[in-house]
Amino acid sequence: MTVAALHDPDSTAETCLQLTGISKRFGSLHVLDDVDLSVRHGERRGIIGPNGAGKTTLFNVIAGELQPSSGKVHLYGREITRMPPHARARLGLARTFQTTTLLPGLTVVENLVLSLQALTPTRFQCFVPRTRYRAFREEALRLLAQVQLDHCADWLVRALGHGEQRQVEILMALAQRPKLLLLDEPTAGLSAADAVLVTDMLRAYHRDVAMVLIEHDLSVVFNVVERITVLHYGRVVAEETVEGIHDNPVVQEIYLGGKL
């Protein structure tokens, strides 16, 4: 059974993310060209395309690190085109990065606590030791237990393996209780076994969280998402369900004319 059959998204669900006419130019270089994208609440979407297609740029526009040259970004109907990244996080957007960006000098728990306290007033608390905030630690341990990493809780993140670090990073994003999770090549640089860990984690996640995934490893994409958007030279050239993508001639051509 495919993922799509297991989790059939409610087609009447509200729109989570809406990109309209997003273009990004660097000088005369069009990195993104009139991109429209619509992701429903709880949907699992993959974005694929050859290198240089503009996938990461698209993410950076959605996340707020880049301003589009034209076009708009809406999150649950609210325009966020000009909002800085931290404001978008407050509205329920979370992301992971292509290279792991855990805080290296801190422990696993400390990393997760940073994520958990980010949207609470606790973050401004100057005079009470962190150890008093047991709830955060317990929540962190609970999250780690879900992926059998609770024994590493007080290790420095440096001591974790690559795949485990990536899992922690995804946990951090999920700890924000986002409504939309952007994952930038979550299995990049991982061994096959580690990639499975990550993929399983993503598949198991709650239906309330929409996920948009950039990936080069197509098997990962097919395992996790329901619909796929294909970018090529900054334009959307196809948008299909996972089954449909195999038969799409444009996509076949892009991927060297072979069958996917």
Partner: protein, 338 residues
Amino acid sequence: MLRPWRNVAIIGVLLVLAIAVPRLGLPAFYVSLLTQTWIYGILAMSLDLLVGFTGLVSFMQAAFFGIGAYVVAIAATRYHFVDFWPTLVVAILLAAITAAAFGALALRAEDAGFIIITLALNEIVWGLAYQWVSMSGGDNGITGFLRVNVGPFHTTDNAGFYYLSLAALVVCLTLLVLMVRSPFGLVLVGTRERPRRMAALGYNVWLFRYLALIIAAMFAAVAGVLFAYYNEFVGPGSLSLDTTTQVLIMVILGGTGTLIGPLLGAGILVFLSNALSDITQRWVLILGAIYVVTVMYAPDGIVGLVKRLAARAQSRRELSLAASAPVTAASNPTRGPE
């Protein structure tokens, strides 16, 4: 995990020693040097909050130090206002307001730009102190004000001022330790290491840096107030590039990001420069050389060096224990808790 009880015990012993110093019959000179260490220690720790914890290499802490000092002097000589506590509050507030203005400008740039702007801003305050002669006395500075007794501390007496400074140090150190161990402190470290990630988590990185700058300025002002009373004189030298440089050296010598390190660094600098200046006129040169060597070979300062040596001794101990103990599947000395 740190062993808090051991640390508390060490601090307790040091505190008792510190309190005992004036009664040990040492020459008053040494008590003075320690007093200076406490005062500069507060300033150095305030810089460490920025450099070591927030990742902001600020060259303008001396400006806030100077503001604290000049508030005392100007209030006393111009406005005949000699109450300690209100003066202290005004000094802290003025430093905070200045930091709010300066921070807004300096944080418009990142990294190198930030450093350069803080230096420029510091020099502007220095320039004001140097040239606004009617207010600041210019190069001659301001004299004619005296120490005031504060609570139980009879500050006119060498030992009395020593205790006041020590008390201030203990209060500031406690507040700073609380701060770095608080959720806020964790955020600061996060913004230092991975600002992009922190923003993605929902933190307003600019705001936290801004707050850190203001808080550090307030501590610097406290040190400045004490400094003014200690010398019963204030001059533009207190906020000059020299002072900024010396405080930075204290932080680096001691070890950034440790709070105790900069306090240690303050002591080293105060005692060393006094000892050296007796032996040679070239103590600045020697200081510069020591500083260069430290930056190159002990970049995390003395505290860092001690930690590294201790860790090495610890792992050597563990390895020799492991070598003599039966091998178990669970033991893995290279992966594990800090």
